[in-house]
């Protein structure tokens, strides 16, 4: 049984008058001990999708489908059960650690808070010990536990967020652009840390980023999203080296690897912008920007079809490959 399973999940935001579909019919799964990367530009729905796992979406969002965490459907859980599941079963490492921490509380207090909340048998002293261990695990000296967030650097704050996510020993870690705001050197450290944690602690991880190259090296599988849908999904390295969907190809080409001569010939980027979710084009949402679009793409919405261990949603690619 998969640790996390999205079954035909759709999320629609209700705003004044119009309904905005942020996520449309996504099905993905993550096994324990494995990591799944979700790639895409801003607005493609990846953060919204991840937010469904712990039901962190605003009241104006309507979610359909099923989100199974260890077999339990999160969307139909009672609120009490949900609060117990939050952090204890699955935890989030938020993007922009700049503001993810309460600026007027010591980080030790913030780290201890979920432990005391979820594990009633813990005394404050025992909780503080565990916090100290976690800080050391992420590479921060334990005595910094009494610091305030503004006394830490960006990289340290991000590592505190990671430590905080691990406080209740979750089975699943959701990382939403955890390295986007960091310097390259620190980025590498944090990625190594995360990969190491997945291996050693045997947890599952969902890693969201717009940087496909980062995902290709840190994750087992990767899914590329565009306009609320999954357009390509498969083993991470394979998707990055040999993308099939034209959008995935463009995304991969946007993050060239230094020294790799192939990238000198990659297209320099796509014209236009990603569509506004409330105003999607007909048929395949990518067709206005697609270099290989045909007439059918304007009217037919391409299904996500399986071929080997890859799934692609493109009429042109699938028909040429003779997908089932």
């Amino acid at each position: 049984m998969a640790l996390l399973e999205f079954e035909d999940v759709s999320v629609t935001y209700r705003s004044r008058g119009a309904d905005v579909p942020a996520v449309r019919g996504v099905s993905l799964s993550v096994d324990i001990g494995h990591s799944l990367g979700i790639a895409g530009e801003s607005g493609c729905g990846k953060t919204t999708l991840a937010s469904t796992v712990l039901r962190l979406l605003p009241k104006s969002a309507r979610v359909t489908g099923r989100v199974l965490l260890d077999g339990e459907d999160v969307l139909t859980m009672s609120f009490g059960r949900l609060r117990a599941v939050r952090w204890a079963k699955a935890a989030v490492v938020f993007q922009g650690a700049m503001h993810g921490l309460n600026p007027v509380q010591r980080i030790g207090d913030q780290l201890v808070e979920p432990i005391l909340l979820h594990e009633k048998v813990f005394s404050r002293r025992a909780a503080t010990n565990r916090v100290g261990e976690l800080l050391e695990l992420v590479g921060i000296p334990a005595r910094r536990v009494n610091s305030y967030p503004h006394q830490l650097s960006g990289g340290q704050k991000q590592r505190v967020m990671i430590a905080m996510a691990l406080t209740c020993r979750p089975r699943l870690l959701l990382c939403d652009e955890p390295t986007t705001a960091l310097d390259v050197m620190v980025q590498a450290q944090v990625l190594d840390l995360l990969a190491g944690l997945v291996r050693e602690l045997g947890i599952g991880m969902v890693f969201i980023s717009h940087d496909l190259s980062v995902l290709s090296s840190s994750c087992d599988r990767v899914a590329v999203m565009y306009a609320g849908e999954v357009v390509e999904e498969g083993p991470a390295a394979a998707v990055f080296d040999g993308p099939r969907h034209p959008y995935a190809a463009a995304l991969a080409g946007a993050f060239p690897r230094i020294g790799d001569t192939r990238f000198r010939y990659a297209p320099a980027g796509l014209p236009g912008d990603p569509p506004f979710p409330g105003d999607l084009p007909s048929g395949c949402p990518f067709h206005p920007r697609c270099p290989i679009a045909v007439e059918a793409c304007q009217t037919e919405s391409p299904p996500l079809l399986q071929m080997g261990d890859r799934r692609t949603a493109c009429l042109v690619v699938n028909s040429s490959q003779g997908a089932a």
Partner: protein, 346 residues
């Protein structure tokens, strides 16, 4: 600082931290604030002096407008006012708190007159401010959290209307309804004063009497003040509610009420407290008019008396006192903020 700690150079961190706290950012902040407050007070003192001396017209007339002053006093006044302005200023500085001419109306040094009238004002304003803070903050928090819902709409609109009222008018309406009685309803409250003459105000029964007299004025001020405080608190909390760290708290499994109580509200209280103190000038204005309307013997009604005269020396002293009080309150607010917000402290 981070570089050192990152590299593990932390020879004696506690000692360093302790020393740092003596002359660190916190001390500098306190020193800067006190210095600024003193500067403002100095400005007020200078302003107070020169305003009356440099305006057109005969200063003697200003000091003795519309009253009979005995010739000896006039001569003394004239001689002091005939000194060069700078000489007068130096004399003034030597003791800005006692005028070269005493309060004209009472024939006593201004400060003696003021001294007898402080307590009623403190009682009135203190009670009202305390109540208004408690109720206003609660109302603001509740409105902000229920933003857009009926409670919020009703309370926000009501407070906006209350905020638009002249406080003395509201007081008069309360007086006419609850003291004089209208449309056949009897008046239940006294029409003014701090206590019924003859009642011993130091006895418990006397306190009740004072309470009965103060009920309407305190209600008036409380309602007016709380409308402002609740609007401030609401705005602060709405600002705070957009912050990311609240989402972190929710994801950790905290109940919405806990998120509010332990994270959002404490953080929103900081700017609110500061703003409440900064608006103390507003409180002073209310005190003056309400004491006048309800005939309460405090500094406010003394001010109105003084301006009727006009009793310039008294007015000057009152102005100095009010300004000093507000400056002190601002300083206190700044220092309190520095103490409570760790981003300033460390």
């Amino acid at each position: 600082m981070t570089l050192f700690q990152e590299a593990g150079v932390d020879a004696a961190p506690s000692a360093l931290a302790r020393a740092g706290r003596l002359a660190g950012p916190s001390t500098r902040y306190v020193a800067k604030r006190i210095f600024a407050a003193l500067g403002t007070f100095a400005f007020v003192v200078v302003f107070n002096f020169f305003l009356f001396r440099l305006l057109p017209g005969d200063p003697i007339a200003l000091y003795t407008k519309g009253r009979d002053v005995d010739p000896a006093q006039m001569r003394a006044l004239r001689s002091t006012l005939n000194q060069p302005v700078l000489q007068q200023f130096v004399n003034y500085l030597k003791n800005p708190f006692s005028q070269d001419a005493s309060s004209v109306k009472y024939n006593l040094p201004a400060w003696e007159v003021i001294g007898t009238r402080v307590w009623p004002t403190v009682l009135l304003v203190g009670t009202a401010t305390l109540l208004a803070t408690i109720i206003g903050v609660w109302l603001g928090v509740r409105s902000a959290w229920a933003r857009g819902e009926r409670f919020d709409k009703v309370s926000t609109n009501t407070t906006l209307v209350l905020y638009s009222m002249p406080e003395f008018w509201f007081g008069m309406i309360l007086l006419i309804v609850f003291s004089a009685g209208v449309f056949g309803l009897p008046g239940l409250f006294p029409s003014g004063g701090l206590s019924t003459p003859g009642v011993d105000t130091s006895s418990p029964l006397g306190w009740l009497n004072v309470g009965w007299h103060l009920f309407l004025p305190v209600t008036t001020l409380t309602v007016i003040y709380l409308s402002e405080y609740s609007l401030i608190m609401r705005a602060s909390l709405i600002d705070e509610m957009g912050q990311d760290y609240l989402q972190t708290a929710r994801a950790k499994g905290l109940k919405e009420k806990m998120v509010r109580r332990h994270h959002a509200v404490p953080n929103a209280m900081l700017p609110t407290m500061t703003l409440i103190f900064l608006n103390l000038g507003f409180v002073v204005g209310g005190a003056i008019t309400i004491e006048y309307v309800f005939s309460i013997n405090g500094l406010g009604s003394l001010t109105v008396d003084a301006l009727r005269g006009p009793d310039i020396p008294l007015l000057q002293s009152l102005f100095l006192l009010f300004s000093a009080a507000v400056i002190a309150a601002n300083l206190f607010a700044d220092l309190l903020y520095g103490r409570l917000d760790p981003r300033v402290r460390t």
